[in-house]
Every structure is written in C-alpha cells, then in structure tokens.
Subunit: 270 residues, 3 copies
C-alpha cells in the first residue's frame, strides 16, 4: 500500500493516512481504503478501526480536484469515492475518525461516514464545494441536512465556511471535541471499553439504531426481539449472577457502578 | 399498592415510587404503574402526572436483573416492562419525570417514555446494558438514536457511561436541567400553567407533534384542521374579545404578554 | 402596497414590513407578501430576500386575532395565512428573517418558514396560541416538533413561553443569534457570499436537503447525480484550474482557503 500504514493491537486497527503533499483523496487512496475496509467484512477480531493522518495540518484536504471533470476516468473516480463513503458506513466494526487537522469537502464527508469522530483544537470542517460550481458528492449535504436541520445546513452549504471542533460537535458533524492534550487518554479509555465487546454487540446496536431512525416502532420491535433472545443466553446469566454478587442492585451502584463492573469482569476472567 | 403512593390536587397527580432497597423496576412496580396509567384513560380531570422517587439516591435503579433470563416468568416480566414503556408513552395526560437521583437502564428508559423530564444535579442517566450482554429493552437505544443521532447514540450505548442532567439536556435525554434548589418553584409555575389547560388541548398537541415527526405535510394538514375547527368555538371568541380589551394587539404585548393573559383569565373567571 | 416597502440591490431584495400599530399579520399584509413572493417565481436575478420590520419592538406580533373565528372571511383569511407560510417555504430564493423584536404566534411561524433567520438581543419567540383556545395554524407545532424533538416541543407549546434569540438558536427555531451591533457586518459578509451564487445553486441545495430529510438514500442518490453532471461543466473546469494555479491542493489551503478563493474569483472576473 502506498498511502496507508496499518497496525493492529487488541482488537483495534489503526490506519495512518499519508498521501503527500496534503492528504488529498485521490484514486490511490480511495482504492486502498476500499480494499482495506472490504477486507474486514468477515473479521470478528477487529472491533474498532481508527483513521488518522500522518500530516501535521491536514486530516484529509478534500477529493482530488483533478478527478472532478467530465472524463470517463474522472467520473469513475468520483463514483469510487462515493462507494468509499458507503463502504465505511456499512462497516461491521466501529469506525473512528481522529481529526487533528483540516477536513474539508470529501475529508469532512469521510469524517461523517465514520461512526465516531473526535477532533482537536487543530481541526477544521467545511463543505465549500459550491464555490467550485459543484455540490457535495460524498453525502456532505445529506449528512448536514440530517444532523443540523434544514436551515443550519443550507447556511453551511452556501457559505462553505470552516467550523471548529467545538462548533462541529454542537452541529453533530462530529461526536466530540477532545483537546489534543487529552486525546490519548480519552481514546485509551473509550476504545478500550468498545474493543472489549463482541463484534455482534456492535452490529446489533448499529442495526437497532438504523432501524429506529427510519421507523420508531420498527426499531422498538427489533430491540425487544434482541433483548428477549440475549436474555436467554448462558453468558447473560453468568454475568448477572456475578454482578449481583459484587453489589449489583444495592446502594453500591449509586457511586461505584464501574467498580461493580470491574469486579465482575475480574472474577469472570479467572 | 405496595410500591406507589399517589396523591392528586388541582389536576396534578403525584406518584411517589418506593421500592426498597434501591427502586429496582421489578414485576410489582411494573404491574402497579401499568394499572395506574391505564386507570387514567378516561380521566379528564387529571392533566399532569408527576413521577418521583422516595429514595434519596435512586430515581429508578434499572429493570430487575432477576427477570433478565430465559424462564417463562422472566420473559413475561420483560415483555410487561416494555408494555409499561408503551403505556406511559400513550398517556393522554402530560407525564413528568422528576429525577433527583440515578436512572440507569430501564430507569433511563422510564424517563424518556415521559413527555417531560426535569433533573437535578443529583441525577445520572445511562444505558449500560451491553455490559451484561443484552441490549436495551425499553426503547433506550431507539430513543437515543432519535434524540441524539446515530453517532452520539452509538457511543453512549457501547460505553454505557453516565450522563449528568446538563449533558442529558443537551443530548435531548431530558427536557431540562433544573437545580434542586429551584425545582419546587419551577414545577409550581410550569405545571400550574399546564394543569389549567383542558385534557383535549394536551391530546391535540401530542397528536400534531406525533404526526409531524413522521410526516411534515401530514402534520401541517392536521394542525390546520384543528386550527380552523377551534377558531369557530364560542370559547375562542370569548377569550379573544377579552384579550383584545386588555391590550392584546397593542404595544402592551411587547413587555407584558403575561399580564394581558392574567387580566383576561381574571375577567373570564368572574 | 400598503404594508411593504421593497428595495433591491446586487441580487438581494429587502422587504421592510410596516403595518402599524404593532405589525399584526392581517389580510392586507398576507396578500401583499403572497403577491410579492409569487412574483419572484421566475426571477433568476434575485438570490436573497430579507424580511425585516420597521417597528422598533415588534418583528411581527402574530396573526390578526380578528380573523380567528368561524366566519367565512375569518376562515378564508386563516387559510390564506397558511398559504403564505407554504409560499415562503417554496421560494427558489434564500429567504432570510432579520428579527430585532417580538415574533409570537404567526410571527414565529413566519420566521421558521424562512430558510435563514438571524435574531438580536431584542428578539422574542413564542407559540402561545393554546392560551386563546387554538393550536398553531402556520406550522408552528410542526416546526417545533421537527426542530427540537417531541419533549421540548410539547413543553414550549403548552407553556407558550418566550424564548430569547440565544435559546431559539439552541432549539433550532432560528439559524443564529447575532448581536445587534454586529448584524450589519454579519449580513454584508453572509449575504454577499450567497448572492454571488447562481439561483440554480440555491435551488439544487434546497432540493438535496429536502430529499435527504425524508430519505437518506434518496438524498444521496440525488446529490451524486448533481455532482456528476456539474463536474462535466466548462465552468467547473475553469474554476478548478484557476483554483489550482493559486495554491489549491497545497499547504496554502490550511490557513488561507479564503485567499485562494478570492484570487481565483479575481482572475476569473477579469
């Protein structure tokens, strides 16, 4: 691979993007991300995929402007880019964008395609496409509309202005602003918890969430069906009896729920 | 009733939950809440139902872990719990959760089933079910998805972390954070206004809201139909003429709309 | 026209509403706004329409209470009012409410019918209709439900309380709070950018946004179709080549994206 370097540890794969000079999303990067994402389809050991950039100031600049044209190659590359967005959205694993720089256009769309996104004081998000005579092409307008509502979305798409991480969190462009100095500790804690789950847990919740957003009643039915099935499992019985032994359903829950979970996990891992 | 004590005054019923040791949602509590909620079906005098807890640190701990299993009794209790959530959501009256303690799992779902929810600095909200191998079972995931969007919902459901009342307000888990010292005055003012309405006013607005969330155009049509019908009523004519007499449609509206409403109500109550 | 004075400059039409004593929305105002809005249907030169009030304390007080009754004239006027709301929502141009005063009832609905709305420290927003025995009639309840969610909407509609501009921004009633002292500079910058676009750009984004809110997949398909078409245009090729010449896809983008856009526009306008 020319643009990605990938490491994996404890259920967490880290994809570092390096496509000089400014991490433009060109066809090489698109192809490599598509190949990697599709390779995870039957991977039950990888629970989390973190995307980050090696570049000091850019997360992903935007889609390569050299493919935005009427040539067969340009149109094919643009379609591949839209497939990349769909492939990321369809991942079984929890996808995480770790944004410490500029993410405009296709870069912003990449961030919104991920399940979770954490950004620092160095991040900038924008969809300025209209100023080069095109609309967004990787669901930027779609996501803005659904995340911030018609009015704020229209303003952002017509102006094409940058948003800071704090603004982006309020507008639901990203999950959370995390100061750079706290990012490592934050990720260790957060991704540590998520990677301790089974891949089927992640898939189940993604499925319930998707159903619920389309149809509240259908979501509730799916949720209840999963609940009743999972309640029958031996694993559930074992965790619950251990949890109760360590102070579950007592006053200890009020101030030390985490402690009960830790004691439970410790005993079960013996 | 073993777990509930209920008082009623001026159109406001107050349900105090007391199920020691930590207000777990067990089958007794479920049955008593279901019975009470269903008894209100044709009650036009009760406009508001406030749910609160007698426990100092717990609002509702969560669903009783002893029913989360594969036994016939366990599965039946879990289904009754999901019915309780649906029954609360279907109430004619305005349901209000007054949360001054811990509300995790089914407790958090109970809060979100209510129309309005006010919480203090002592409140904590979470859906930590996945860490005992089950999903939420009372629309917790459904509500998180619809209230905070896919991304923040997935994070909250996989981590299972606690939210404060202030965080919960921002994420639409609750209606509003109210400091404990201000809660009584806040409720007196707010619920006083709501309980002065007719039950059909509450039902009408719940219906328009539900229609609008599913389909904007259908909501607008329903709203206009109600508007044109209500405009014809003698009651409307009487309020409007009195309102105009006391400074409606004049400069007085700018700084003293409440005063005009109070003068109008005073004259009409003669 | 009796209630409107309209000026137009550089693609921006400014509609100043003056309907003494308190800018009530009566049948004259409704008819004049409907006539003006419909006259813009084939106007490709006007990109932005700003609605503001000449009154010092009222943006628009509310719908004329004298038409809220069972007479044929009253019912017809109410229906015309609802058409006005739909006509504003259907505009090709970007509609902007500039709110420096009170906007209750139909006034608040007028604001929410506009694409963008900016309000100052003097603004107040409310839907207090229920206290005169009617629901909202211009999509107030519909918009509250869709913008702030079921729970906060129900509270606001039953209480009928005023919101400040800052509260209204958080609840998505308006696009943005802008201090009065900064409003002129803000509008000059913002509307200057929007009015430099083509009317078809605005229509395209409104269409994608509307499709996306109803159906995420349909929105994404429509967006991609527009993207691929627009990518083929000569105009796109010219902007992109000029943009690349001035530092597009280089480090200059990080801190000076606006500068690249300005240099590009300057060269192209030669």
């Amino acid at each position: 691979m020319k643009t990605l370097s990938i490491t994996s540890h404890g259920g967490i794969a880290t994809v570092t993007i390096n496509n000089p000079p400014v991490n433009v999303i060109n066809i090489d990067l698109i192809n490599e991300i598509n190949a990697f994402v599709l390779s995870l389809k039957d991977d039950r050991d990888t629970k989390v995929v973190v995307f980050k950039s090696l570049h000091e100031t850019f997360f992903l600049a935007h889609l390569d402007l050299n493919v935005i044209n009427g040539t067969q190659g340009g149109q094919a590359a643009s379609i591949e880019f839209s497939h990349m967005i769909m492939n990321i959205k369809a991942m079984k694993q929890v996808s995480v964008a770790l944004v410490d720089g500029v993410a405009r256009g296709g870069g912003d769309e990449f961030v919104m395609a991920c399940d979770l996104s954490y950004a620092t004081e160095n991040a900038a998000f924008a969809q300025p496409e209209i100023h080069v005579n095109i609309p967004t092409g990787g669901q930027g307008a779609v996501q803005y509309a659904r995340r911030m509502g018609k009015n704020k979305a229209l303003q952002a798409l017509l102006l094409g202005n940058d948003f800071t991480a704090q603004q982006a969190e309020k507008l639901n462009i990203i999950t959370q602003f995390v100061p750079k100095a706290e990012m490592n500790a934050f990720l260790e804690m957060t991704l540590g918890i998520i990677s301790s789950l089974e891949i089927r847990d992640i898939v189940m919740y993604k499925e319930i969430i998707a159903a619920s957003i389309t149809d509240e009643t259908a979501g509730a039915e799916l949720e209840l069906r999963y609940f009743l099935e999972r309640a029958k499992e031996e694993k559930t019985a074992m965790i619950i009896s251990t949890f109760l032994k360590h102070g579950g359903q007592t006053e200890r829950e009020a101030k030390d729920m985490q402690g009960i979970f830790m004691d439970t996990a410790a005993e079960l891992s013996k």
